[in-house]
Point group: C2
Chain length 893, copies 2
């Protein structure tokens, strides 16, 4: 065969075991992940059952060769088996003391459960007797044999696994027992006969279960190769976009058994505590058991420390291996081991999963121990895992079960008394200020902000991760669950039902914004611990970071908190949130309902001192740092009530006819408010609104500057679509600023720039940059418009879209690089084309998403801005992005 | 001076008159439009008062030279004056018989009223007496002198024109007269004294009115140059984006007077009838009058034909000039002339404005006369002017005055009985089928379509040019006025008020969709005339056109009409419009309210035969042409009533609890439906909806094909944002089509493609094209998303935006080339990168806009599609675009 000839001199089979190996850890592409790590352990002198790996190249050849293993591979397999036989001292098919092997798949990337595994290969009618005799355990021998027939039949021959399951169930019924373990050796011997009959009856062409172990082996290897192109595996690769792999490797390895008496056992362990990160050996084991017994949970495993008493030698050996693996892999390991008749075998090692707390502690301690350097420590911790460190969470010891699950919108747990409206929250807070409040709504709107602010947590029945409730809650670091379909609210009756549970006003419920779970009643929560390791890691991160990290904050309190977390300025202050409190909303409404410019100016003048005071507070909290303030953005109707009673109240409050309120609401009503009369369109029509805000900013800056506060105001004009809008508004703002500064006799550095959130602004960024002194990408709106997705309206179809992988990830969570990313890249490039030193950042929700931060770094932004609680996460993500990019900002993609 | 030296040998002054000229028509950049045409006429031997033009280069030098005319220009001006004196036989400042001149600006591009003009220059205290004596008309002489002082003072010296006006008014009051003409020569002589006093008092430094005509002339020339940088002129150039001009030229020309007795006169004429285009001499004149008397309208002018009797020689001379000008300029001319004491002078010629009807007739007849070729005829007619030929319009003889003006949304005029709801329209039509109906609404929605269809015209108080009412009305060629703020509707009381007029149900009103005017009562309308010339011009256009022109049509009737207008296929059939009639809406609602897939499928099966029948009708009407059918696009809630009574009715009709209807409406409610659950998102969630529509299309195609109809169905999937959506839906549609064709044993060519209307689809067009077999740019939605503008919500701010020139033109009317255009260009380029022969068209409202058609040609589209009534317009625009691009499609911009 041409193929065979072409590959005649190649090495296809890599042996391992006995302290040596032909492969090693960095040969994953050729040997698969499992094979490479087994080789590596063997080479390190760690005891692994001997075996060999057939390379992924053979898999490729197998398919080129019309699903036949090339001829010249066979001798290498035979040689591999011979080596295993030599090391183990048993022979495949030896009737007296047979070598048994496992045959497992293993590609370069993990594809859990997608491909085939066959255990106990080598058993035949003859050798099963030998095994029974040799082990003095016929029950074990026949149980192993019947499992082998099942696995071989269903994976290598494509029989239905259920056929064997049914036979097993039937046997148990006949014997009047419930558990497999209650079947005797004779029962299992009988079952082997029935299994073989099933095998014969259902294979096509019909044949007996193969009694030649070499034949078994070749068929098993074929089966593993076949599973590579199985429907499940192909589908998995398509969905996960796994491409460019040659195929799967095949690992053939001597079987070891932990269930051969009290000098045998099996266990799993972590080299450090995966929950706390503490440098202790952590794990469980079971005496006289196999791995599946641990999983089945029939017997309770013992803590690993007990092994010191039961098998002191094995324990010492394990401690040494633990040490060796950590020194070698330089990371915490998750290991599996089996003790067969007093002999320890390692079956697996891999980097262990861990909590965020543990991740930070392990990284910092390993660096201090000299195992890794600072850079590696910084790269070792997933930014998302930091959430764990920053938020209250459900007490892990709590036993309550959730009644429903919504979308996890803002992490952390909160328990509180249910209220069904923002007003009720305010009322409850007035009467019982210390009661914890949980706001439960269909959806929230800016009118609910006061009530939302008082609540410990927010639960809505609609909305997605980027709904108003979710965005506001994340901004405040407040737990929030949205889109909880199971929740049906009767607002008038002030009660709700969740999966049959009726929840009345002031009943307790608990939400877990990290998982989306909803609980009836009060589940205890625990506060996060902020350890010194965390601060250390952040310092190390800052050694490598080049992107600045700012925060989105609307209040001095948020600003201060963000600064504690390391924020280097405010990237987005949403001024509209300041208009909902107390007297301000009255003045705001006066302004909106004004008939004349004069009346509007008068109402605005009443708002001015409040805004000025807000900005003074922000400037003070951010002394020395830039503060970007966005001018009023939402449509005006958001400040007016839409219901009759609310409108009546406003009319009374303002002393005007209700009809007028109604008319104005109707006039301001919009089909698609997101694309309506908002953002810069407001001051284009009503320049006095912009004037008031600019004046408040500059007067606050002057007030602070006079008192020695270092202020760097950046005035940001939202929703620009054309340079003309920016030009008109910038000229006016600049004139006012210059006038105020000249009156004060001061010089304060300030910038006037714009959000880039309308696609047209990105497309024409070269023009926009002729006026803009900075760009801030508002990726929430940019995503809405570029993808044609209203973030408030995606609940109906986004789950299906994610399930069908139309979007691999919610585009409001992580920047859609292929689409929105193109516009951002274009905006940065064109903007800097006009103004090479243009300051550019991002202030959408994406500023706190690690992948998005990496993208921002790659296109050459100067900073990201995110909610206070995500600042540490962004710092870490930025450091990692800088390290990935070699510490250099890559401006040319 | 350096400047003077550098330009020493240059020609700065170009003389004309006496049958010769130094300049000519194609020297507009140097001589300005007026100067170039005066030179041209002079050269043609047409009598023009002699004069000279100071070039635009001098204007540029003037500014470089710190607002001084370069020294070496002065001798050329002196020489120019000498030539004029020689030709006229009078001398500037001659006390006995002075030469008088006018001094006028004239840039290369017309800037009407932006710059200065001074008449009667050369009059002094001395020469005014000579003029009085020579003309034997002291009144004329002093009136000329006082006008000169006024013009010179206000334009050359910057005095307030009002100072002189007040003196004139005071004099009339003193004399107890009302009209200027009632003042005597002595009165005017006294007025000259007062004017000179004003001049002395207000000039700074104070000085007497200049008595040296050369001094007057140089000051006047300076004044014209200064006006080039005047605030008005600069602003005008900024707004109109006029750039790159050197400056203005100055025209100095001998004055002629038409008010020197009954052998004098003045007139304006067109070389052909500007209303009908008929080849007759058309115009008016006044004996013993000046141009301003014609404008003032004090005396009624005589038709030009009467001149034949009054001044037969002059008339013959004019006829000869008319002939000469048309032969020379090869277009209909608009001319001004003056007869001074029996001698004819031409003062101006330029291409004449004309109606659409006239434009077509003139172009075709001039081509037949051999004056121009077909290509020129095609390029001569503005596509927009064709509207005139295709729609009913208000009788020009009607005397009614409009009471309000809204936005002209769909041209043509309609009078009808007012109804305030679509149901009332249906009801009125049921009872009195022949009554003309005018639908008056706040806004319209797809539920109103049946009533809209019955109405002669539609008037809404809100919405812009791209609102639902406007789009539907334009599609049907139905007159429509939207955004009429003055209209306040009380729907319950069934009455409206417009500027104080109360309009009750069934009262008549009339709208003019061409102007936006609204009239109380019934204003007579006239039907359009479709002449043979029009058809001829269209044929000539098709000789040059390379873009195909299709139509947006939802019914066989529209399709047939469009084909009569020359449509070459359907570019967009909106299937949702088919779901509102009769039983269909019931089935549609059943489908939407279905609890299970089965129930949904059942309702869809009931809709299937209707859809199939619709498509059969379309395929038959478009036999041989491609028919693009868009799958269901709008959000489902548009098919459900939003009011209580409507929901109750649906509940009754469908036999389900009203609560269920309410719940579903609430569930489908969206904040921003434009960006919500619509388009391809519907069949992604409910594949059975797409199945039904695809089946209806293909079954209809099969039915037609069997009967010998040539069908070319193109299935269009809307709102694609990712290639994954298209892939899922295309695979399913293709499988169904193939199954149906195979069952029928037929092979029918069909395509499956997509709208490009979400910005992301354009950005990732290379990916989308891996699946799409054609692209159709949906520029309505693409504009909405790219510009962040909801077309239903722009009424509040778009007028201000247009006024401030933030948008030079409504982006829903003409493609925003700088923004949306970039995405289109990118979409075309990337799409063809993947699939070089990708068929690409446009089906937004822009397909009927000439500038947009030109853009589509320039980016290399294959076709445009527009509403039936705009098909001729698109054909002409496409021909012109092809000719502008040299007949070649330019794919690389």
């Amino acid at each position: 065969m041409a193929t065979a000839t072409a590959t005649a001199t190649k090495k296809f089979v890599y042996s391992f075991g006995g302290g040596v190996a032909e492969g090693k850890a960095d040969m994953k592409a050729l040997l698969g992940g499992k094979g490479a790590n087994l080789a590596e352990m063997s080479m390190l002198g760690i005891p692994v059952p001997p075996g060999f790996t057939i390379t992924t190249e053979v898999c490729a050849e197998y398919y080129k060769n019309d699903r036949h293993i090339p001829e010249d591979v066979i001798p290498q397999i035979v040689e591999g088996i011979a080596k295993v036989e030599a090391l183990v001292g048993k022979k495949l098919g030896d009737p007296a003391d047979p070598l048994l092997v496992s045959v497992r798949s293993g590609a370069a990337l993990s594809m859990p459960g997608m491909m085939n595994t066959i255990l106990n290969l080598g058993l035949t009618d003859e050798s099963v007797e030998g095994l029974a005799a040799k082990t003095n355990n016929p029950r074990f021998a026949y149980d192993s044999y019947r499992r082998f027939i099942d696995m071989f039949g269903s994976t290598a021959m494509g029989l239905e696994h259920e056929l064997f399951e049914h036979a097993l169930s039937a046997m148990k019924t006949e014997r009047g027992v419930k558990l497999d373990t209650e079947l005797t050796a004779d029962d299992l011997k009988e079952l082997v006969i029935r299994y073989k009959a099933i095998y014969r009856a259902h294979t096509s062409p019909s044949h007996d279960f193969p009694q030649d172990p070499k034949d078994q082996l070749m068929k098993a290897i074929n089966a593993v190769f076949n599973s590579w192109m199985g429907k499940k595996a192909r589908e998995y690769r398509r969905i996960e976009k796994i491409e460019g792999l040659l195929g799967t490797a095949v690992n053939v390895q001597a079987m070891v058994f932990g269930n051969m008496g009290n000098n045998s056992g099996t266990g799993v362990a972590f080299t450090r505590d995966p929950n706390t990160g503490e440098n202790v050996f952590y794990g469980d084991y079971l005496i006289n058991a196999q791995g599946e017994d641990v999983v089945a949970g029939i017997r309770t495993p013992e803590p690993i420390s007990r092994l010191q008493e039961e098998m002191p030698q094995v324990y010492d050996q394990l401690l040494a291996i633990r040490e060796k693996l950590e020194r070698h892999y330089k990371d915490m390991q998750d290991i599996e081991f089996t003790v067969q008749e007093g002999v320890l075998y390692m079956l697996q090692t891999r980097n262990g999963k861990r909590t965020g707390t543990a991740a930070v502690r392990i990284a910092v301690e390993m660096a201090r121990e000299g195992l890794i350097d600072h850079q590696t420590a910084v790269q070792r911790v997933s930014p998302d895992s930091l959430n764990h460190l920053l938020l209250p969470r459900l007490d892990p010891k709590a036993k309550e079960r959730p009644v429903a699950r919504g979308i996890a919108a803002s992490p952390g747990a909160a328990a509180g008394k249910v209220v069904f409206s923002a007003e009720d929250a305010v009322h409850l807070h007035d009467v019982h200020p210390s009661d914890p409040i949980l706001l439960v709504r269909k959806e929230t709107s800016p009118e609910d902000v006061a009530g939302m602010n008082l609540a410990r947590g927010i639960l809505t029945s609609t909305g997605g991760k980027a709904s108003h409730a979710a965005v506001v809650a994340r901004g405040w670091g407040k737990p929030c669950v949205v889109g909880c379909d199971a929740l049906v609210i009767d607002e008038e009756a002030k009660q709700a039902s969740i999966q049959g549970h009726i929840v009345r006003e002031h009943d307790f419920i608990t939400i877990d914004g990290t998982t989306g779970d909803v609980y009836i009643g009060k589940v205890p929560t625990v506060d996060p611990e902020m350890t010194g390791d965390f601060a250390t890691l952040m310092e190390w991160a800052d050694e490598y970071r080049t992107l600045k990290v700012r925060t989105n904050a609307d209040t001095p309190r948020d600003a201060r908190r963000a600064r504690e977390f390391g924020a280097e300025g405010i990237g987005l202050c949403r001024t509209e949130h300041m208009f909902f409190e107390d007297q301000r909303i009255v003045d705001m409404r006066k302004m909106i309902l004004a008939d004349t410019t004069e009346a509007r100016v008068k109402a605005l003048n009443d708002l001015l001192p409040h805004q000025r005071a807000d900005f003074i507070g922000l400037f003070e909290a951010m002394d020395g740092c830039p503060v970007t303030i966005r001018l009023l953005d939402p449509p005006l109707h958001e400040f007016l009530p839409h219901d009759d009673s609310g409108q009546l109240e406003v009319a009374k409050q303002l002393g005007i006819p209700v009809e007028k309120v109604r008319q104005r609401v109707a006039q301001l009503h919009e089909q698609n408010p997101m694309l309506g009369f908002r953002g810069c369109r407001l001051p284009i029509l009503y320049p006095e609104i912009g004037d008031m805000q600019v004046r408040a900013i500059m007067e606050a800056a002057i007030d602070c500057a006079k008192r020695g506060v270092s202020v760097h105001p950046e005035i940001m004009i939202p929703l620009i679509g054309t340079v003309e809008e920016l030009k008109i508004l910038k000229e006016r703002a600049q004139a006012l600023c210059e006038q105020l500064l000249s009156e004060a006799g001061l010089s304060i550095p300030y910038l006037i720039g714009t959000m880039i959130e309308v696609p047209r602004a990105a497309l024409t960024a070269d023009e926009v940059a002729t006026e803009a002194e900075f760009f801030s990408f508002g990726t929430n709106d940019l995503t809405q418009m570029t993808l044609g997705l209203s973030r408030d309206d995606i609940t109906l179809f986004m789950p299906t879209y994610l399930e069908k992988k139309i979007y691999k990830i919610d585009p409001f969570q992580s920047i859609d690089i292929a689409g929105v990313g193109q516009l951002i890249e274009m905006g940065v490039r064109k903007g800097r084309q006009t103004r090479p030193n243009l300051k550019i950042g991002i202030c959408g929700e994406h500023g706190g998403d690690p992948d998005s931060v990496a993208f921002c770094q790659s296109v050459g932004m100067d900073y990201v801005s995110c909610s206070p609680f995500r600042v540490p996460l962004a710092r870490l993500a930025a450091a990692q992005a800088a390290l990935t990019n070699g510490g250099k900002v890559q401006r040319d993609k």
